[in-house]
């Protein structure tokens, strides 16, 4: 018997009341017990007292006692056995609500002792005449499987579930599908521990037809479950694919956003099997209005929809071609919605609508939220790079923004200008003086580095380039590494272009960089330049002033294969994060986190991650370009490039990070310099495949929150890995 609590205190009072002779008093005591349980007080000592109240005609009281049992059954397995009798009796109750409640609760008790008593009542309930009981029992099978798979298999519950797909009641069908899917996932994710055939829930043509019938009749949540199952079905031929699409399309009109997105998913998957152009066109056309309607949902649902629209646009850019206006941000939209809308607007920008877009973006650039303002300016730059005809208008808008002289606006505009110079060389030299006039304003490394790059690039045309650069050379050791690297390169460029006037400055910068600089990366680069310049100035010219490949806005932010995979998971977390599920979900349910290690390890801070992803997607090209002495191989930047990308990360992370915190940045910079120490270990990092979970370990890992903050068990593993790596 459990140790009795002392004869005073709250628990003692409760225990007295629970044993009271008055019904009302007992019930009240149960309520108070549950209230204590909710706020986290330990009331497990009252187990026997609460148990005494289980046998009652009062349904509400019964539910409360069951709720208590579900919570503490695990801690008091010996005592749960006392409840079994009542449970089994309840599954025979004439009232179907009581029967269902009993079977539902038994499945949640999760005590080994009671499990064996569950099978007989479950067997009975699966055949109950009442559909409400049957639908509850169907899910109970999944609960049982979660606890003890052998029992499910030995008792033939699986076969029984398979039969229940043909049930006359659509809700029962929906729950059966949900249960089977659940079991299927559990079984396939742990092939080693499961003794059964992993393919537990195979959807045959026969099942398909039953599902399609049930789809139109069941509840909204049931529809989602059925649509998910349909998404897994592999169509036999084109006709079948067409048939599925036609049957699913009406679901676009459902009021529940998750049903709409689930239908979109099914269509996207089965459209692969459709080859009739007119049908594809029709499907795509029907898909657009419901997607736009999702934008009037609550912000969270909107956000999920926007993230998915972003994916869909990467696959089918024409899907919403006339709808840019609906993505205009409202003043009171939450930031995460605004940022996502910006991204989509740039995607939808064409020569026709660019004017409207630009005036919007300009408007956003005067709002109060700094992150959003920066993102808007970035979007202007992206538009300029994307649409050649609009570049000049974009530049004019940027100039207007620079004229506001608001510090962060100017800085961001300078960064963006750099991309425009890169894309349209020799076109906008006229504005260089305006940029240089703001030199004193700049205090962020990225903005400084961008301006220095511009000066270096146009050294020939800027008369006082040596003066301007010498400002940075003077403060060389105080600058951040990215600025140092950029200064170094710019001065060398200057020297190669105007050798007569800049001998002194190049000597000075090389000296400082090799002697006083503590970044090995900067030192290495300085040594390379020094040697190049002293050995073979012509070669230096060929390397430093090499022609750079043109930049463009990547049409996709994820690799094509990944895109296909994600489109098959529309509305899931994976599609929201634009990453494959393996990167943030452990395999199997129990030992989820321990299974996985190495570069595949999950990145913890997704909000940061996600924000970074969007930024870097646009930035990627330019980051690589900053790095001038790289051979013109876009696809395989060497160690230096990788370091540079990393060293810029804190800025980017701060820029948009969901939960930016200082320790995080520290970690990143540590990592950045770590990468610098071993420049040979290049991170494979192709443009276009933005920081995916795979391969991009350089980004994912250091983003995890500082080890000290949360006391979550599963986090320890990745932290260890992080330390292990370096």
């Amino acid at each position: 018997m459990s140790i009795r609590a002392p004869r005073k205190g709250e628990n003692y009072e409760l225990s007295v009341d629970l044993n009271s002779e008055y019904r009302e008093k007992r019930k009240d005591a149960i309520k108070r017990t549950i209230a204590s349980m909710t706020v986290g007080k330990d009331v497990s000592g009252l187990f026997p007292d609460v148990l005494k109240n289980m046998q009652t005609d009062d349904l509400e009281q019964k539910k409360l006692v069951y709720l208590y049992l579900m919570n503490y059954a695990k801690t008091q397995p010996e005592l749960v056995i006392l409840a079994v009798n009542t449970f089994v009796k309840d599954t025979d109750d004439p009232n179907p609500l009581v029967r269902a409640l009993a079977i539902r609760t038994m499945g949640c008790l999760r005590a080994e002792k009671i499990i064996d008593y569950l099978c007989d009542p479950l067997q009975k309930c699966l055949r109950d005449e009442n559909p409400y009981v049957r639908k509850t029992a169907a899910l109970c099978v999944a609960k049982l499987y979660d606890l003890k798979p052998e029992l499910v298999i030995d008792n033939g519950f699986l076969e029984q579930l398979q039969e229940m797909i043909s049930d006359s009641n659509p809700m029962v069908v929906a729950n059966t599908v949900a249960a089977l899917t659940d079991i299927h996932i559990a079984a396939t994710s742990q092939p080693s521990t499961s003794s059964s055939d992993p393919a537990i829930f195979v959807i045959t043509t026969n099942i398909l037809n039953k599902l399609l019938i049930a789809l139109n009749e069941c509840s909204e949540w049931g529809r989602v479950a059925i649509l998910n199952a349909l998404a897994r079905y592999g169509a036999q031929d084109e006709k079948e694919s067409e048939h599925i699409c036609e049957r699913v399309v009406p679901q676009f009109q459902h009021v529940n956003g998750s049903v709409v997105l689930a239908a979109v998913k099914v269509i996207m998957i089965h459209m692969r099997g459709v080859h009739r152009e007119d049908l594809i066109k029709q499907l795509v056309r029907k898909m657009a209005p419901p997607l736009v309607t999702l934008l009037s949902s609550p912000p969270e649902v909107q956000w999920v929809a926007l993230r998915n629209i972003n994916l869909l646009l990467q696959k089918r850019p024409d899907i919403l071609s006339n709808e840019m206006r609906v993505f205009f941000c409202k003043y009171n939209d939450p930031l995460y919605v605004k940022v996502e809308k910006l991204d989509i607007m740039v995607r939808l920008a064409t020569e026709k609508n660019v004017d409207a877009l630009l005036s919007e973006l300009k408007e956003y650039a005067s709002e109060v939220d700094v992150d959003f303002v920066r993102k808007s300016i970035k979007a202007i730059g992206q538009t300029a790079v994307k649409i050649d005809e609009a570049a000049e208008r974009c530049v004019n808008v940027l100039l207007e923004l620079i004229a506001t002289r608001v510090s962060y606006v100017v800085q961001e505009a300078v960064v963006v200008m750099k991309d425009i110079f890169r894309k349209y060389p020799e076109t906008y030299e006229g504005i260089i003086p305006i940029l240089c006039a703001n030199l004193d304003e700049l205090d962020e490394p990225e903005a400084k580095a961008s301006l220095i790059w511009i000066i270096g690039e146009y050294a020939k045309k800027i008369d006082n380039a040596d003066e301007l650069l010498s400002i940075f050379v003077d403060t060389f050791t105080e600058e951040s590494y990215s600025v140092q690297l950029q200064t170094l390169t710019a001065v060398v460029k200057l020297f190669l272009k105007k050798p007569d006037s800049s001998q002194g400055i190049v000597q000075r910068v090389l000296n400082t960089a090799t002697k006083d600089c503590d970044s090995p990366d900067v030192r290495d680069r300085a040594y390379i330049y020094w040697r190049l310049l002293s050995m073979d100035p012509a070669a230096a010219k060929a390397v430093v002033l090499a022609h750079r490949p043109p930049i463009s806005i990547p049409r996709t932010t994820v690799a094509p294969a990944l895109l296909e995979e994600l489109l098959g998971e529309v509305s899931s977390l994976a599609s929201v994060y634009h990453k494959p599920a393996e990167t943030f979900v452990g395999r199997g349910r129990v030992g989820a986190d321990s299974v996985r290690k190495g570069t595949e390890e999950a990145d913890d801070q997704f909000s940061t991650q996600k924000a970074l992803q969007t930024v870097v997607a646009g930035q990627q090209a330019e980051n690589l370009l900053d790095f001038d002495d790289a051979p013109a191989l876009d696809g395989q930047p060497k160690g230096l490039a990788a370091t540079e990308v990393l060293s810029q990360t804190p800025a980017a992370a701060n820029l948009l990070a969901g939960t930016s915190s200082n320790p995080l940045d520290d970690l990143v910079s540590i990592f950045g310099s770590g990468g610098g120490l071993a420049p040979t270990s290049a991170v494979p990092f192709g443009p276009g495949s933005a920081i995916p979970g795979r391969g991009g370990f350089g980004f994912g890992q250091p983003m995890s929150p500082a080890p000290a903050t949360p006391a979550i068990q599963q986090q320890h593993q990745p932290q260890d890995d992080l330390l292990g790596l370096f």
Binding site: A35, G40, K143, E220, S258, P298, S575, P710, Q714
Partner: protein, 424 residues
Amino acid sequence: MISAFFIFNQKGEVLISRLYRTDFKRSIADVFRIQVVSNSDVRSPIITLGSTSFFHVRVNNLYVVAVTKTNANAALVFEFCYRFINICKSYFGKIDEESVKNNFVVIYELIDEINDFGYPQNSEIDTLKTYITTESIVSSDYAAEESSKITSQATGATSWRRADVKYKKNEAFVDVIEIVNLSMSAKGNVLRADVDGHIQMRAYLSGTPECKFGLNDKLVIDKNDRGGSDAVELDDCRFHQCVRLNDFDASRTISFIPPDGEFELMRYRSTSNVKLPLRVIPTVTEIGTTQVSYTITLKANFSNKLSATNVVLRIPTPLNTTTVDCKVLSGKAKYAPSENVVVWKLARVQGGQECTFTAAATLTSTTTRQVWARPPIDVDFQVLMFTASGLIVRFLKVFEKSNYQSIKWVRYLTKASGSYQIRF
């Protein structure tokens, strides 16, 4: 799959906690408190830590949180959270800390009923109310019979309706409610104007009535001119689950067996030919660095038989405003320093009427160079018997076995709250 469901108050105290699955301990709530509630800079409704994802929705200083470890269906989880919020509003009239604390027993019953093992179950408010009540049900033979009816309703093909509804007077009320979203540029160009409409129905009809509903719409999807000249283009419609979507897809007829009582029959969206009921013409000039002058004209752009009520304009002022001197002929204007706006309230504006607001704001001098962001003017209003999209209910036919006569009422309302924005 939702593994756990929590409600937190603003301080991060757990008000409700329910673990549907066993992959979490109760202490997972602490993680959320540390990572989200006590973090002032949360910028995403989903936070993933390790392989644990927290979905949260904020409502009246409460956090409604769902937790999962799988690659869950994000849209479903949020829709579920909002459904829960709606159910609470319907049960307790509101959802806030007090109502959750006072009704935690019912809430536990509810969340167990609408979700089993992480899978959402029947969440039709009307049905739930028949068997989860604030008074307790005593199980007896009579109740068993009653329960059978309830359960067959909860799982039946028309899970939203009882079979034995009887009314003396058969009535159906249809409310067409349109919310106008407008953003107008400083130059007076319409950047975006669209209508989010929903049709709310209150059906007090006996038996199992079969309804057919008709509007003057021509769907953009289906561009044959069946509608005639006054037809309205609806970009998209979404229906309550009682509407037969297949019928709609095939023949554009809206047919359904309505739930008993109030429900939202459909939602729609219209973007073309949106009639803007109120026109706002602002002239705002910054005089030097110490003064801003406002002249704002409001025109009611609809028939003079109608009138707009509860008109509220929120006119932003710079952050360093000290006093605002307002002059209005109609309504009342008052400077609200805490929100940095002047609130101009007009109880009633007749169609065709024109009202003017003039004001001068005095500013303190500041050293910061930050320019004033000029947030848009926000207008709230209601206009009865007017639809901005031009939508009209053509017919509502009710067929029932007993062939009773039914009376139908239709009302129209166009309103805006927080979505009608004019930049200046």
